[in-house]
């Protein structure tokens, strides 16, 4: 995996970042580099700072100390080429908005404050919904969608602006197994075009899709492989359960390459 980095361009890096809220440090001395075509599985216990780290990477939380450096992440319109799929719980399911409008809103950053959506925008949003396999849901209100359908809509919003880096915050909660499998296949395909950071609890399932693993528990340990053992996790001070799917954890993780 290391060899990959030599050919790829760096997208962003964190340099000894301390971050948190109200003076309380959640993340300390975090270093991370993200390159084109990376596929990083980000794991760690609840409250370990995964979401905080994401906020720093997304540029919405200023670090107390250290630096976040973007490398040519802005496009010609000065829009950050990052796609973001927030946690499911962050969305108000009663909000009166249609699936198509949500997907289309991914283009919003490319427009001025007052610009309306153009005919092409609508066309692009329709194509995106087709790609996600949810064309028939265009006019549905988000509240009427199932968990899996909703995640497809949000994935559509995240990638419609052709990002260089796609960040997904626990996309596998509240979705059925079938969608989860499809999601990972989508991500594998998208990884040809963009780097991906996938935050998850379930390292067992994703390990065959991700290329590297970042363990986040106050500090960040970068593991240059998608194979990780319970012993290594302990060494990284990352007390998470390896969830086995009908097999012993180590075996599950090592079976894939």
């Amino acid at each position: 995996m290391k060899t990959n980095h030599i050919m790829s361009e760096k997208i962003l890096e964190l340099q000894s970042v301390d971050a948190g809220y109200n003076g309380q440090r959640v993340i300390s001395e975090a270093n991370l580099e993200v390159y084109d075509h990376d596929f990083i599985g980000m794991i760690g216990p609840n409250g370990g700072g995964k979401t905080t780290l994401l906020k720093v990477i997304l540029g919405v939380l200023k670090p107390f100390r250290g630096k976040l450096i973007y490398h040519q992440i802005y496009d010609a319109d000065h829009v950050k080429r990052i796609g973001y799929l927030p946690q499911f719980s962050m969305i108000d399911r009663k909000f009166p908005i249609s699936a198509l409008e949500v997907v289309m809103s991914g283009l919003m950053p490319h427009h001025g404050l007052t610009r309306k959506y153009s005919r092409e925008d609508k066309q692009r949003a329709r194509q995106m919904m087709k790609r996600m396999g949810i064309s028939h849901l265009e006019d549905k209100v988000v509240g009427e969608l199932s968990g899996g359908q909703m995640q497809r809509v949000f994935l559509g919003r995240a990638i419609i602006g052709s990002p260089r880096l796609l960040i997904l915050d626990e996309p596998n909660t509240f979705v059925d197994n079938q969608f989860e499998g499809e999601l990972y296949e989508h991500l594998r395909e998208l990884n040809q075009e963009m780097a991906i950071i996938l935050v998850t609890h379930d390292i067992g399932t994703i390990s065959s899709y991700v290329k590297t693993i970042a363990c986040v528990n106050q500090q960040v340990f970068y593991h240059h492989s998608n194979v990780i053992t319970q012993e290594q996790l302990s060494a990284y001070n990352c007390p998470i359960q390896l969830i086995a799917h009908g097999d012993v954890p180590h075996t599950v993780l090592k079976r894939h390459d």
Partner: protein, 272 residues
């Protein structure tokens, strides 16, 4: 009908139109963003401005305008900076504004005329000056929503997403909450402080049964509140009961009827 010959009734109809447009649009924003309680707090704290207005001998509505905009921005500011629970801050401002109002009205020598108007509203006493004020705000709100509609929808639905892309979330939200405050102020004359929250929630809840699209919800709400206000006005005229209360009563009846209608439809055609 004879009542159409009276200027006060014509004024009341104009007021009904402006009320419906301002409350229909702003109320949809309020309901969709779940800031009904915040809006109630702003409404009641504006009473402080009315009291101060009486005391200083200026038009109480100007006092209410200053108080409601300050409390709208103040609630946001204090809950963020003071690390207090948002709804607790609302409760504090709500009662503080009312207390200030009562104190200043008692300090004002003599009888406070029209006090009841501010509490319970009186659409039939709306003046030409009030109408000018209402018309102006209606224009501002319509233009603001026409210009920034996509942005408002985008920020309302997923604020944190908008922040990732450096959208001016705080600015837009501050402008919107100020418009909420001003909408409240110009409509105090129509239904009064105590009943105002219903104009910002009932038509929208009725509309929400017919549509779940933000833009349509705004249009439907305007139409529904116009229907409710005019019906309430006529009922008030016929039965000689206070207009504010009859407007709210008409709206709630409409809500009950539509709710029952949809319930029956779902019962009879469960697969629709």
């Amino acid at each position: 009908m004879e009542i159409f010959q009276y200027q006060f009734f014509i004024n009341a109809l104009w007021a009904a139109l402006f009320t419906s447009i301002t409350c229909g649009i702003i109320g949809t924003y309020i309901v969709s963003n779940r800031i009904v309680f915040l809006s109630g707090g702003i409404t009641h704290s504006s009473f402080g401005g009315i009291g101060v207005g009486y005391y200083m001998g200026v038009n109480p509505i100007w006092g209410a305008a200053v108080f409601s905009v300050l409390s709208a921005l103040g609630i946001e500011f204090f809950s963020k900076k003071g690390q207090l629970r948002h709804d607790s801050v609302i409760g504090i401002w709500w009662s503080f504004g009312m207390a200030i109002g009562i104190i200043f009205i008692y300090l004002t020598p003599g009888y406070a005329p029209n006090l009841m108007t501010y509490l319970f509203g009186s659409i039939l006493t709306v003046s030409q000056g009030d109408l000018l004020f209402m018309g102006l705000l209606t224009g501002v709100i319509v233009v603001f929503f026409l210009l920034f509609f996509r942005m408002i929808l985008f920020i309302s639905f997923d604020e944190s997403y908008a922040r990732v892309f450096g959208m001016p979330v705080t600015l837009i939200k501050s402008l919107l909450i100020s418009l909420v405050a001003l909408t409240i102020v110009v409509n105090i004359k129509v239904v009064g402080i105590i009943l105002l929250i219903s104009l910002l929630t009932v038509p929208q809840s009725i509309a929400n049964q017919f549509t779940q699209v933000f833009s349509r919800m705004m249009f439907y709400s305007v139409g529904i509140s116009l229907l409710g206000v005019v019906a309430g006005l006529l009922f008030s005229y016929n039965q000689d009961v206070p207009s504010g209360a009859s407007i709210i009563f008409a709206l709630i009846v409409l809500f009950g009827l539509t709710k029952a209608g949809f319930y029956l439809r779902d019962k009879l055609h469960p697969h629709r």
